[in-house]
């Protein structure tokens, strides 16, 4: 399983042709305490860069973009009642949804963990 990162601070961990998506630890820290999360339901489909989820903290509401195109196979319904999971474990239990990738080639444009760290250090 390989994890990729976007400049908009999403991560996608790809296993076969299914990717698990969430927001990064850096994003969760910047947002502050997350109070509301809206994740897509199974069956929804998104193009790369589409708004796919909403995350709201005490400071602001933000859109979460689809890092690649695909169809949602599962949404993390637990976040509705426990949005704090996004702060506690953003890159684990705080995942947003699982996506069946329609074009694995799109992953080429994303960063690996080292490149993303360098990107964040430059912000």
């Amino acid at each position: 399983m390989t994890t990729y990162f976007t400049e908009d601070h999403e991560w996608i961990a790809v296993d076969g042709d299914v990717g698990t998506i969430g927001i990064t630890k850096y994003a969760a820290e910047q947002l502050g305490d997350v109070v509301f999360v809206e994740v897509p339901e199974a069956g929804a489909s998104f193009g790369k860069g589409d708004d796919m989820a909403v995350v709201e903290s005490v400071k602001a509401a933000s859109d979460v973009y689809a890092p690649v195109s695909g169809d949602v196979t599962d949404g993390n319904g637990d976040l509705a009642d426990a949005p704090e999971t996004v702060n506690e474990d953003p890159e684990g239990k705080g995942w947003f949804c699982k996506l069946k990738l329609s074009d694995k080639g799109e992953l080429d444009g994303l960063m690996d963990a080292a490149a993303y760290k360098t990107f964040c250090d430059g912000l």
Binding site: D33, V35, V58, A60
Partner: protein, 522 residues
Amino acid sequence: MGMQSIGRPTSPFPAGVSDAETVSGSKGLLQNEGLIFEIGCPNKTGVDLPAPEGKKNRLGGVARKQGSGLPGLSEPEAVRHYMRLSQKNYAIDLGLFPLGSCTMKHNPRLNEKTARMPGFADIHPLQPQRTVQGALELIDELATWLKTLTGMPAVAMSPKAGAHGELCGMLAIRQALIARGEAETRKRVLVPASAHGTNPATAIQCGFIVDEIKADARGRVDMDDLKSKLETTDDVAGIMLTNPNTCGLFETDIKEIAELIHAAGGYFYCDGANFNAIQGRVRPGDLGVDAMHINLHKTFSTPHGGGGPGSGPTVLSDALAPFAPVPFVVNDDDGFRLIEETDGAASQAFGRMVAFHGQMGMFVRALTYMLSHGADGLKQVAEDAVLNANYIQARLKHVMTPAFDGYCMHEALFSDAFTAEGIETIDIAKAMLDEGYHPMTMYFPLVVHGAMLIEPTETESKQELDRFCDSLLSIAERAAAGDETLKGAPYLAPMKRLDETQAARKPVLKWTAPDPDALAAE
């Protein structure tokens, strides 16, 4: 001399002041106050009438079987409850209200006097129009002032708030696109990253899609980003832009932006929330604007923020004027009359936004404000508002970090770059409560990290600005030095730091009666 023995020392003792919690929870003469349900008793009442005798029950089986659960208070208890709550209120009549982007200026008392004149206050919107000629003339005269100040040929007077005015402008744009047969092909509305949140919300409400334009390093529209969007798309319906923008900066490329949008076949919506900074100096019509709402409750001093209602007349260019909503006032041989139907003169109107004619009470107040200032006075309002904001920026910038270089317009914007690790914008805002000030706008605009947006308006004196700056500077210095006690502020407010996260995650929106069994067990 006759010695009297009931004297007492009247100078304060030098020591012994305690900051301990009080038994009552009150702080000095600031009364602690519970919810009305907590202080009421079920069987108490303010009006004690004897039970009626010989009354027939006409309710049959639907009579209430249990009490209503309303709190019972005597009249003095009810009066005190609301007086105590009112004393916790903060208002422009109590002190400086520095909320950026809100233009919380003084509401002149003369406005209130004219608005209460029976000829304006006691009329009914369905009265025959010949009996309200003065009121219609007032609407027409206010419309003339708004058109003159903005350099625009038409105005829709009926929108009832800023966002309602935005809706009016965007519906006019949509109607113009329908008339051109391009409503289905032009769906894209460009909105800068620093926009008021209502801008993208309005565009979406009108069926458009929102495309965000970046800000450049100067806090203004990134012209390269705008040009590339216009070159790579052919479905632009328009742009929504605030000028001065929400960073408190004048969009210096605004004429070029207007030309580019028009050349691409789109319309230019200008958010007029910040018109206070430019009225009398710049006419939006000369800048190429097609539609702009005007917040009478900001620029023209009508009450704002709980004391409203708001009022958001929307000026329209020649291109959009035919699509203005009904009703509107015309003045012809028969005197003033209202065009109410979407036929004849208003055959292209996009429809109607309100039941009657808009916020008449606010129209009276706004015109009173204009007439008492005069055209030259309104120009000075803008100049003084900008001067006051720059005074604040100049006084604070040696400690706080201005978000952008150079002079600002009507509001000063700072980032949190000057604070020590661990101290945030919210800590500064909360500490301002201890100093007796309503905090500034915080964490907005989103393009600036930990933003603090301060708009003093022109109605504050230099003395008041200095008091405010002294307070904020002392807090900012503590923030820069890493004073951890800021994390617990406010200390002197009726409530200390609240857990906003918990309140948002697990909101308690309704009082619930305590369990009687649990009470009995106590």
